[in-house]
């Protein structure tokens, strides 16, 4: 069973998701990965 986390604290949740998710951005490009995730969050709060 996959481990569960609480991602709802900022910025620790953002950093954790940026580290764990499989994204189309290399893992070493941390800022770009965080911006990608934040872009999703910005869209999802407006759905």
């Amino acid at each position: 069973m996959e481990e569960k986390y609480v991602f709802s604290d900022y910025p620790s949740g953002l950093k954790l998701l940026a580290e764990k998710l499989d994204l189309p951005i290399p893992v070493e490009e941390t800022e770009k990965r965080e911006n990608y995730i934040f872009g999703l969050i910005n869209a999802w709060v407006r759905l």
């Binding site: 481990e3 986390y5 609480v6 900022y10 949740g13 998701l17 969050i41 869209a43 999802w44 759905l47």
Partner: protein
């Protein structure tokens, strides 16, 4: 015209000539503003099409096969239903019995939330916004849950791009608006998403200082960078789209003149100034009525704006704006309840009075949502008429 590339070019030319008000177009361009109506018209249930992109693709194809528009504003992307359902947000209320799509209004915060936003917009979005929208957010989740969410999210955009490509490459149907950046004003975000009608109305009266601080935070984080991106975008008309940019207004409906100037016009003017400097052709759509603020638009140059009224009288708009193109005016109430002849009479009047020499784009006055919004035979008759009608030859 068999060649789809030629057809796409011809159609873009119709828009560019009509909207620039410098050349008379070969004929009036005709745009579809039918949204969920086209799902019902194609014989599908709303839930079927909203949750299956293959079905939505058939819907959009059938819409074009049947009516042969020059542009379609909405190609099945209005409602991001699947991701919302995956998150269990309950945001959409889709009812196949009543054939309706409703949207549950969920303001992200109470007035105190403005203070958190003003201090740190990112922290607000992450903690307050997501927490308010989604009950899963504050509970433990595995990474796979978010991985799947990204997959669903990407699926939506994959559909959107593929649909646009299909319509362009197989039907010669141009992209409606070029993919230029746009800056969203704070007041629209606060109105539509963060505070809602009631909340924002109270904020403007009870604590304008706090609202100002939140607007400043919005501008620093979102509006100003977006405006910078607009300024960096390519100038001049796109040769691959009907319009270069679009402004859609909603929050103006609750504002008096003083509030409009302070909260809206100050920022909208910055957007319009960039659009003018870029020589972009802009579709300007305002929900409900905005005629009490029309004077503010008069300073912009001939042919820059195409005004698409919602509940304002389009013939009054022609008197007010002799140098802007107009779009819309084909009343859903007539398409839905009128006779075929009444629809054709209205279509002829719109073209003759608003754009016999150019300066008019045929389109419905509102989003077509319900089955009763149009009788399919009426819509077909109007589309056939617009395609053949040349005022100067009659």
């Amino acid at each position: 015209m068999q060649n789809v590339k030629e057809l796409e070019k011809y159609r873009i030319g119709l828009f560019r000539d009509a909207c620039s008000m410098t050349h008379k177009p070969d004929r009036t361009p005709n745009v579809s503003y039918m949204v969920t109506w086209k799902i019902l018209d194609a014989g599908y249930k709303l839930t079927e099409a909203l949750s299956d992109y293959d079905i939505m693709t058939k819907v959009v194809r059938e819409h074009q096969d049947k009516y042969n528009f020059d542009g379609i504003i909405e190609m099945g992307v209005r409602n991001q239903y699947l991701i919302s359902e995956y998150f269990g947000a309950g945001r959409y209320i889709v009812d196949d019995k009543t054939e309706s799509v409703n949207f549950r209004d969920i303001p992200l915060c109470e007035s105190e939330g403005l203070r958190i936003f003003a201090d740190n917009p990112q922290k607000f979005m992450w903690e307050q916004g997501m927490g308010k929208m989604y009950s899963f957010w504050n509970k433990p989740n595995d990474v796979a849950f978010f991985q799947k969410a990204i997959e669903i999210n990407n699926g939506f955009f994959k559909y959107a791009y593929a649909m646009a490509d299909t319509m362009r490459n197989e039907y010669g149907l141009p992209t409606n608006v070029a993919p230029n950046p746009i800056a969203q004003t704070a007041i629209e975000f606060f109105f539509q998403t963060m505070r809602g009608i009631k909340g924002l109305s109270m904020d403007m009266r009870h604590d304008p200082g706090l609202l100002d601080a939140a607007i400043e935070a919005w501008n620093e984080t979102f509006f100003n960078p977006q405006l910078t991106a607009m300024k960096a975008a390519k100038a001049g008309p796109s040769d691959a789209a009907c319009f270069d940019s679009t402004n859609v207004l909603l929050a103006h409906i609750i504002l008096n003149t003083k509030q409009w100037e302070k909260y809206y016009w100050k920022y909208l003017k910055q957007v319009l100034d960039v659009q003018r400097d870029k020589n972009w052709s802009v579709r300007f759509f305002a929900e409900d009525k905005i005629s009490r603020f029309w004077d503010y638009l008069s300073e912009y140059p001939r042919g820059m704006l195409t005004i698409h009224p919602d509940n304002d009288d389009i013939f009054e708009a022609r008197k007010k704006f002799p140098t802007f193109a107009l779009m819309g005016g084909m009343k859903l109430s007539t398409l839905g309840m009128g006779s075929k002849q009444e629809c054709l009479d209205l279509a002829k009047r719109l073209i003759d009075e608003l754009g016999a020499e150019g300066g008019y784009v045929m389109c419905e006055d509102k989003m077509g949502s319900y089955r009763s919004d149009a009788n399919a035979e009426n819509l077909k008759a109007v589309c056939d008429f617009v395609r053949e009608y040349r005022p100067s030859q009659n």
